[in-house]
C-alpha cells in the first residue's frame, strides 16, 4: 500500500533528481499539498534524515521530528514531522515489529521555520523591530540556529519554548529588540529634577528651621540682656535717688534751721549772713543736682521749663554765691548787663543760672590772686557793627581797657564760630561772656574740655579740684537752650567763655507786684544823680549799670581832680544836676600814696558843701576787700560816709544807700512775721469782750488780743457779760469761756441771743427806731467760744445756742485767725 507522505530530502533540487535505485522499500510521495507539489514522486527514504524519521515513526507510533535541515526548493531550514499510518487498530502497547508489519503508509509535514516565524511575526506587527531566533536546543550545549540572524547581544532576551509535538526534540524561540532601548532621558531627568528639587526644598526647610532657632536664641539672649540693662538702669536710678535723698535730707534740715533763724529778729548784717548761708546751702543742693543732671542728660531725660524771670536778679544771685571766694582770692568780680536786654525773659532760670555758675566757678577756680572775672550779657544783635561802630563800651574792649587792667584774650574770637547770631520776633538771643585772667587752658587740652569727666590735665583735679562735669553739663544745657558755646584761651593770659541762648520776651512786671513780692523797691532812688570816680572805663560802666537799675543816672570822672572840676562846673541850682552820691573806687583813693590826695579830698568836700548846702553828696568807697580795722578807720575819720564791698550787688547797694541816706528802714521789719499783719488788720481797733472765770486766762487772752491791736474788756462770769452785751453796745466781738460756774457759756449765749432777737423784733416792728439802738438794723454780736477741751466743744451744741465759732484755749494764732477772718472778710 502506498501512502502519501511528505518528506523532503536534504540537499536535493528538483532538477537533479534521478530515478530511484532498486530497493526493498520505497516511500514515494503520492499526495501532497500544492505548496509542496515539487516533492511528488520523491522517495522519502532517500534522504538520511527522512529515512531515520520514517523508521522511527513506524516503530514508535508517535510523531517524530527531524533535526533541522535545509528543505527542498526553498532551502530554508526546517523540520519534518512524520506520522505512521497503520492498517489495523493497534493496541497501545504493541511491539515495534507489530507496528512495522501493520504499517501501510506515512504522513508527514514540513515546517518551514523562517516563513512560519515570519508569518507569525507579521501578525504581531509592533513598533519595535524585534529580532527573533529559533533554536533547536535538543542538544543544549550546541543549539542549532534555525531562524534569525546571528546573535548580537542587545540586552533583554525573551525565551519561549516551541512545541512541535515531538517530546524528543526541544525548540526555543529567542526574542529581543533589535536596538537597545534608548536611555529614558525624560524619566531620568524628571527624577533627577525631582530629587534636586526635593533636596533644595529640604535644604531650604532645614535652613529656615535653623534660622528660626538661631533667631529665637538671639531673642532670648537679647531679652536677657535687656532685662539686665533695665535692672542696671533701675539700680542706677535707685542709687542716685537714694544718694541724693540721703544727702538732701540733712541739707534740708540745715536749710530749714537757717530759714527759722531768718524769721527771728536779726539786724541787717546778720540777715545778710544768714541769707548767704541759706543760699550756699541751696547751691550745695544744686551741686548734687548737677551730678544727677549728668545722669539725666546721659539718659536723655532733661527738660527745660519756660517761666518768666529776671536775668539781672539771677546774675546778682550768682555773684553773691561767689563773693566770698573772690574776696578771699583777691580777684575782682563784676557783672554787666546791656540795656538792650529786656527786664523779663522767658526760659528756664534754674538751668541758665546753673550754666553761668559753672562758668564763673571755673573762672574763679583757675584765677589766682590777680585780675578779674567779668560776666557780661548782651543781645546778639548788638554785635553787628552799625555805622557808628559797636555802641557798647564793654563790647568794644580795647587791649588795655579791661576791668582790672590785666590783659585778657580777645572775646570776639570766642564766638567767631557761632552759626546763629541773630534774634527772631518771638525769641531773643542773648550772648553771655565770662572772662577771666586766670592760668588759661593748655593748647593740647582745648579740644576736649567739653567732654565729661575730662579735665585739662590729670593734675588739674589735684591742683584745682572739681569733677570735670561742669563744662559738659553746661554744653548740654546750652544746646537745650538752642544756643552755642565757645571759648578762647591763652595760657598765662586767661580764658573767655561765651555762649548764646534763646529766650522768649516777657512782659514787664509792674512795680506793685515787685513790692508785694518783697523785692527791692527802686522808687526811692529814682531820679537821683551820682558821680562815679574810676580810672577804668569798664569798671565804671559796671557801676553805672548797677546804679541805673535803681533809677540813678550816672556821670563818670576819671579821677578826683576831674570830679572837682565836674562839681564846680555844673550849672547852679538845677535840680537835675544835684549829685546825691559820689562813688569812688579804691584804686582812685590814693590817700596813702598821694600826699596831695587829702587836700584834694578837702577841696572836693568844700565844693560840694558850697554847691549843695542842704544836702551834700555822700561819698562811698567801692572796694574789693577791706579789713575791719581799715573800715573803722575810714569811717571814723569821717572821710567816707559808707563803704561798699565788691562784687556789687543790688541788695548791698540798696542797704548802704538806705543806711547812709536814711531812707526806708521800715521795710526790714515788715519782711518778718508776715502773718501778723493780717490778723492785726482784722483785729486792729476792734472792741472785744472776754468772759472767763479764771483770772489767769482773762489776763492771757487780754494780752494776746491786745497784741493785735484790739481793745479788750474782761468780765468774770456770764452773768456779768449779759448786761454788757445788751444792745446798743460798742463791742465788735465776744470771746466766751464755756466752762464757767453758775452760768456756763452756752446759757449766757442763749440769753444774749434772746435779748438780741427781742430788740431786732422791736426795730422791725417799728416800736423803736434804729437810732435808739445805735443805727444797727440787726443786732448779732459775734460770740466765739473758748474751750480748753476741743473735743467736748461740740460744734452742734455751740451752734444751737447761738455761738458763731469756737477757738481753743489758750489761743492758737492760726485758729484764731481763721475764726476771726470768717466774720470780717467782707469788712
Amino acid at each position: 500500500m502506498e501512502t502519501e507522505d511528505q518528506t523532503l530530502v536534504q540537499d536535493c533540487t528538483t532538477e537533479n533528481l534521478e530515478p530511484s535505485p532498486v530497493q526493498d522499500e520505497y516511500a514515494p510521495v503520492i499526495f501532497s499539498q500544492e505548496t509542496v507539489s515539487h516533492i511528488v514522486s520523491i522517495d522519502m527514504m532517500s534522504g538520511k534524515e527522512d529515512r531515520g524519521n520514517i523508521l522511527r515513526a513506524r516503530a514508535s507510533g508517535k510523531g517524530v521530528l527531524t533535526s533541522p535541515f535545509k528543505l527542498l526548493k526553498s532551502n530554508h531550514l526546517g523540520v519534518v514531522l512524520t506520522f505512521a499510518v497503520y492498517k489495523t487498530d493497534l493496541p497501545l502497547r504493541a511491539a515495534p515489529e507489530e507496528r512495522i508489519k501493520a504499517t501501510v503508509g506515512y504522513l508527514g509535514a514540513s515546517y518551514d521555520v523562517p516563513s512560519l516565524v515570519e508569518k507569525l511575526l507579521h501578525q504581531l506587527a509592533s513598533k519595535q523591530t524585534i529580532v527573533v531566533n529559533v533554536y533547536d536546543t535538543t542538544d543544549a550545549s550546541l543549539p542549532i540556529n534555525m531562524y534569525g540572524p546571528n546573535i548580537t547581544d542587545t540586552g533583554l532576551l525573551h525565551i519561549s519554548n516551541l512545541d512541535f509535538g515531538d517530546p524528543a526534540r526541544k525548540h526555543e524561540m529567542h526574542c529581543r529588540f533589535k536596538q537597545r532601548p534608548p536611555l529614558p532621558w525624560t524619566a531620568i531627568l524628571a527624577s533627577v529634577g525631582i530629587l534636586v528639587i526635593t533636596l533644595l526644598l529640604g535644604h531650604i526647610f532645614h535652613a529656615a528651621v535653623n534660622r528660626i532657632a538661631k533667631v529665637e536664641d538671639d531673642f532670648r539672649k537679647m531679652e536677657d540682656l535687656k532685662s539686665r540693662a533695665e535692672a542696671a538702669d533701675r539700680a542706677k536710678s535707685q542709687f542716685l535717688a537714694t544718694v541724693s535723698h540721703e544727702i538732701r535730707t540733712p541739707m534740708n534740715g540745715v536749710l530749714g534751721m537757717l530759714q527759722m533763724l531768718m524769721d527771728t529778729d536779726l539786724d541787717a548784717n546778720q540777715q545778710d549772713y544768714a541769707q548767704t548761708a541759706h543760699d550756699s546751702g541751696k547751691d550745695l543742693i544744686s551741686l548734687i543736682n548737677e551730678v544727677l543732671d549728668q545722669a539725666k542728660i546721659e539718659s536723655g531725660r532733661l527738660e527745660l521749663e519756660t517761666v518768666p524771670f529776671n536775668l539781672r536778679t539771677i546774675l546778682d544771685n550768682v555773684l553773691s554765691l561767689f563773693s566770698g571766694k573772690s574776696c578771699e582770692k583777691g580777684i575782682e568780680l563784676a557783672v554787666y548787663v546791656s540795656y538792650q536786654v529786656p527786664e523779663v525773659i522767658i526760659g528756664d532760670p534754674g538751668r541758665f543760672r546753673q550754666t553761668i555758675t559753672n562758668l564763673v566757678g571755673n573762672s574763679i577756680k583757675f584765677t589766682n590772686d590777680k585780675g578779674h572775672v567779668f560776666v557780661s550779657v548782651h543781645v546778639v544783635d548788638e554785635l553787628w557793627v552799625g555805622p557808628l561802630g559797636v555802641g557798647d563800651e564793654v563790647l568794644r574792649q580795647g587791649p588795655s581797657n579791661t576791668l582790672s587792667g590785666f590783659p585778657v584774650v580777645n572775646r570776639w574770637k570766642s564766638w567767631e564760630n557761632f552759626k546763629i547770631l541773630n534774634s527772631t520776633e518771638e525769641k531773643i538771643r542773648l550772648l553771655v561772656t565770662v572772662e577771666d585772667t586766670g592760668v588759661g587752658i593748655p593748647l593740647d587740652a582745648q579740644s576736649r574740655i567739653f567732654t565729661p569727666f575730662m579735665q585739662a590735665d590729670s593734675s588739674t583735679s589735684r591742683t584745682y579740684g572739681g569733677t570735670g562735669i561742669g563744662l559738659s553739663v553746661s554744653n548740654c544745657l546750652v544746646n537745650l537752650m538752642e544756643g552755642e558755646i565757645g571759648f578762647v584761651s591763652e595760657p598765662g593770659i586767661g580764658s573767655t567763655f561765651s555762649f548764646t541762648a534763646a529766650f522768649g520776651i516777657g512782659e514787664m512786671i509792674s512795680q506793685e507786684t515787685k513790692w508785694q513780692k518783697n523785692e527791692i523797691s527802686v522808687s526811692e532812688f529814682e531820679g537821683l544823680r551820682a558821680l562815679v570816680v574810676d580810672g577804668r572805663t569798664i569798671r565804671a560802666e559796671v557801676v553805672r549799670y548797677h546804679l541805673r537799675r535803681l533809677g540813678i543816672s550816672v556821670d563818670v570822672a576819671f579821677s578826683l581832680e576831674y570830679a572837682c572840676s565836674y562839681i564846680s562846673s555844673s550849672c547852679n541850682g538845677s535840680e537835675s544836676a544835684h549829685v546825691a552820691m559820689v562813688l569812688v573806687d579804691r584804686d582812685s583813693w590814693s590817700i596813702e600814696t598821694d600826699p596831695t590826695f587829702h587836700n584834694l579830698l578837702e577841696e572836693f568836700r568844700e565844693l560840694s558843701r558850697t554847691k549843695y548846702p542842704e544836702c551834700p553828696p555822700k561819698i562811698f568807697l567801692l572796694s574789693k576787700t577791706l579789713s575791719s580795722t581799715e573800715c573803722h578807720e575810714l569811717k571814723s575819720a569821717a572821710s567816707v560816709d559808707g563803704i561798699i564791698l565788691k562784687p556789687l550787688r543790688l541788695s548791698i547797694l540798696v542797704a548802704c544807700f538806705q543806711e547812709a541816706l536814711g531812707i526806708g528802714k521800715k521795710k526790714l521789719s515788715l519782711s518778718n512775721k508776715r502773718k501778723l499783719p493780717t490778723l492785726e488788720n482784722l483785729l486792729k481797733g476792734k472792741r472785744i469782750l472776754v468772759v472767763d472765770d479764771n483770772k489767769v486766762n482773762r489776763r492771757v487772752a487780754e494780752g494776746t488780743l491786745k497784741k493785735y491791736g484790739a481793745f479788750v474788756l474782761c468780765v468774770e462770769s456770764g452773768k456779768a457779760a449779759i448786761p454788757m452785751l445788751e444792745p446798743p453796745h460798742n463791742f465788735d466781738a465776744c470771746f466766751m469761756d464755756l466752762q464757767m460756774p453758775e452760768m456756763d457759756g452756752f446759757e449766757a449765749t442763749r440769753q444774749i441771743r434772746e435779748m438780741e432777737y427781742k430788740f431786732n423784733e422791736k426795730i422791725e416792728g417799728g416800736e423803736a427806731s434804729r437810732e435808739m439802738f445805735g443805727n444797727v438794723g440787726s443786732w448779732h454780736t459775734p460770740i466765739l467760744a473758748m474751750t480748753a477741751d476741743l473735743i467736748q466743744a461740740n460744734n452742734e451744741e455751740c451752734m444751737k445756742c447761738g455761738m458763731d465759732d469756737y477757738v481753743s484755749k489758750p489761743f492758737e494764732e492760726e485758729q484764731l485767725y481763721s475764726a476771726v477772718a470768717r466774720f470780717y472778710q467782707s469788712g
Binding site: K695, V696, N697, G703, K707, A788, P810
Partner: protein, 156 residues
C-alpha cells in the same frame, strides 16, 4: 565788767528755761506769753505768773480742804476747781501741772478719793517746784535789768 555779767545772766536764764522745757515742766505756750511782752507791757509775763500763783494757791487750799473732810462727797465741786486749775495752767504753759490735773479730774469723775489724794499731793509738789523756778527766773531777770541799766548812756 557789768556788761559781762549781763551776758552771763542772760545765758543762765536761757539755760534754766531750756531745762524747764526739757523736763516738760513748761511748753510753747509760755514762749507765746513771752512774745506778748514788749514795750507797751514790759512786765506782762511776771504779771500773769503772779496772778497764776495767787489763784493756784487759793485753788489748792480749797482742794485740800475738800479732800481732808472725811464726809466729803461733792466731787462735782472738786471737778470745777480742777477745771479752773487746768485752764490757768494751760494758759501759762505749765504742762506738767496740767497733765496732773487731767489725771486728777479722771480720779474725781470715778469718785476715787485715794486717787484724788495722790493727785493732789503730786500737784502740790509740782506747783512748789514751778514756783521756785519762776522765782529764780524773776530774780535773774531783775538782776539783768539792773546790770543792763548801767549801759544805757553809752548806746544811742
Amino acid at each position: 565788767m557789768l556788761g559781762f555779767g549781763v551776758e552771763r545772766l542772760r545765758a543762765d536764764m536761757n539755760r534754766l528755761l531750756a531745762l524747764l522745757f526739757h523736763q516738760g515742766v513748761l511748753d510753747e505756750q509760755f514762749l507765746q506769753l513771752q512774745q506778748l511782752q514788749d514795750e507797751t507791757s514790759p512786765n506782762f509775763v511776771s504779771e500773769v505768773v503772779n496772778i497764776y500763783f495767787h489763784e493756784s494757791e487759793k485753788l489748792l487750799r480749797n482742794l485740800r480742804g475738800l479732800l481732808l473732810d472725811r464726809e466729803f462727797s461733792d466731787y462735782k465741786k472738786m471737778g470745777i476747781h480742777i477745771n479752773q486749775f487746768m485752764g490757768s495752767s494751760s494758759s501759762i504753759g505749765a504742762k506738767r501741772i496740767r497733765n496732773i490735773c487731767v489725771a486728777f479730774r479722771a480720779a474725781s469723775e470715778q469718785n476715787n478719793r485715794a486717787g484724788c489724794l495722790r493727785a493732789l499731793e503730786l500737784l502740790e509738789h509740782e506747783y512748789c517746784y514751778l514756783k521756785n523756778k519762776f522765782h529764780e527766773l524773776f530774780q535773774m531777770e531783775q538782776q539783768r535789768l539792773l546790770a543792763a541799766g548801767a549801759r544805757y548812756p553809752v548806746q544811742n
